[in-house]
């Protein structure tokens, strides 16, 4: 299931990062120039040391092409992360999973940003990325508001040749009363609990909820590519 051919090589990944910050043609040219200046061959970018050398040289080269300070910092950061990733091991987007504990507002923000990033990496459209991130935000907010503590898991997967991203929100709160009414769209709470859950259901392709009074709640959402 995890073939190394699905993981992009540095030679493919570096231009992809650069293209976020400069035109594609320039990105290719910059990389070619850097490789030449360091006597590296594109196909030879397999050794972590060579990748590091290339990325170090790139950090300098991009300063000529990216004028905006914050964009330059962001590009350098992305390249550094790539260099580190090559040394520590590959992140396999096919089966990546991230768990976020939800106990504060900032963790809710972090969870939705992670979801958006994973969706983008997986190849979802911008609109789908927003939908996925919004759904995560709704679920995380419900955990914060009603259960005080819980966990959101965002993972990528594959089901019979269909790629998907799956969100699981788990808490040990008091459970959701009136669940049937909420899912039918009839319940209008003071605090807005119903709207969030129903909203999530509408945004995603698959939706499942298990809630036991006094024990907790688990919501599972899936969106297919």
């Amino acid at each position: 299931m995890n073939e190394s051919s699905t993981i992009p090589t540095p030679f493919e990944e570096i231009p992809r990062i650069l293209e976020r910050y400069m035109p594609a043609s320039i990105a290719k040219g910059v990389l070619a120039q850097v490789l030449r200046s360091r006597n590296l061959v594109a196909g030879g970018l397999r050794k972590p040391e060579d990748v590091s050398i290339a990325i170090e040289a790139l950090q300098k080269a991009i300063e000529i092409f990216i004028h905006d300070g914050s964009l330059l910092d962001a590009c350098k950061r992305d390249l550094r992360r790539l260099a580190r990733g090559r040394e520590d091991g590959e992140l396999d987007w096919d089966t990546a999973a991230v768990n976020v504990e939800i106990t504060t507002d900032l963790q809710m923000v972090r969870a939705r940003n992670i979801a958006k990033t994973m969706a983008e990496a997986k190849g979802f459209s911008k609109t789908d990325q927003i939908k996925i991130a919004t759904a995560v935000s709704e679920l995380a907010r419900n955990i914060l508001r009603y259960a005080e503590k819980g966990r959101v898991k965002v993972e990528c997967g594959r089901d019979q040749s269909r790629d998907f991203i799956q969100i699981t929100a788990l808490d040990q709160g008091q459970g959701i009363p009136n669940l049937d009414e909420i899912l039918a769209g009839r319940y209008k709470s003071e605090t807005g609990l119903g709207l969030g859950i129903l909203g999530c259901k509408r945004l995603m392709d698959e939706f499942d909820i298990q809630s036991v009074m006094g024990k907790g709640t688990m919501v599972t959402l899936r969106k297919y590519l």
Binding site: D105, N113, T127, Q129, K131, T134, G192, L203
Partner: protein, 137 residues
């Protein structure tokens, strides 16, 4: 020490340009700050500019709507501008309909609308005064 969403005064309008992650605290503080700004200054328009916002969940969207309604109750015309089309689509699909909220595509249009209505107000005032004076014996 803690971050706050800045409120900028532009002639007799308030401009709130959100350029950071919207948390519950930030939105609550914004509501208080907007109320205070309207109360203490002669404001006739408010623009909430959202082009810097990535993700809007239903609660934050409703809170922004509440700020808009609150301003209107205080006599201030509110316009929400720069909402990303993907976000607008997401909110609609979720079933969240923001009623009673004026919107504009961007800051420019929003200020145009506010400028026009303040012009019309001026015209209406002068017309009214004119009629009053005509009726004087």
């Amino acid at each position: 020490m803690s971050q706050q969403i800045p409120i900028i005064r532009l002639r007799d309008n308030l401009l709130v340009s959100v350029q950071m992650e919207l948390t519950d605290q930030l939105v609550a503080a914004l509501k208080d700050n907007v109320a205070e700004a309207i109360r203490s200054q002669d404001i006739r328009g408010l623009v909430i500019e959202l082009s810097g916002v990535d993700i809007l969940d239903s609660y934050i969207a409703r809170s922004i709507r509440d700020i808009s309604h609150m301003a209107r109750l205080m006599g201030v015309q509110t316009i929400i501008a720069g909402l990303d089309p993907c976000m607008a689509m997401t909110l609609i699909e979720m079933g969240l309909v923001l009623t009673g909220v004026s919107t504009a595509l961007n800051l420019d249009s929003a200020l145009d609308i506010l400028g026009r209505s303040s012009d019309e107000e001026q015209k209406a005032k002068s017309a009214f005064l004119g009629r009053l004076l005509d009726r004087q014996p």
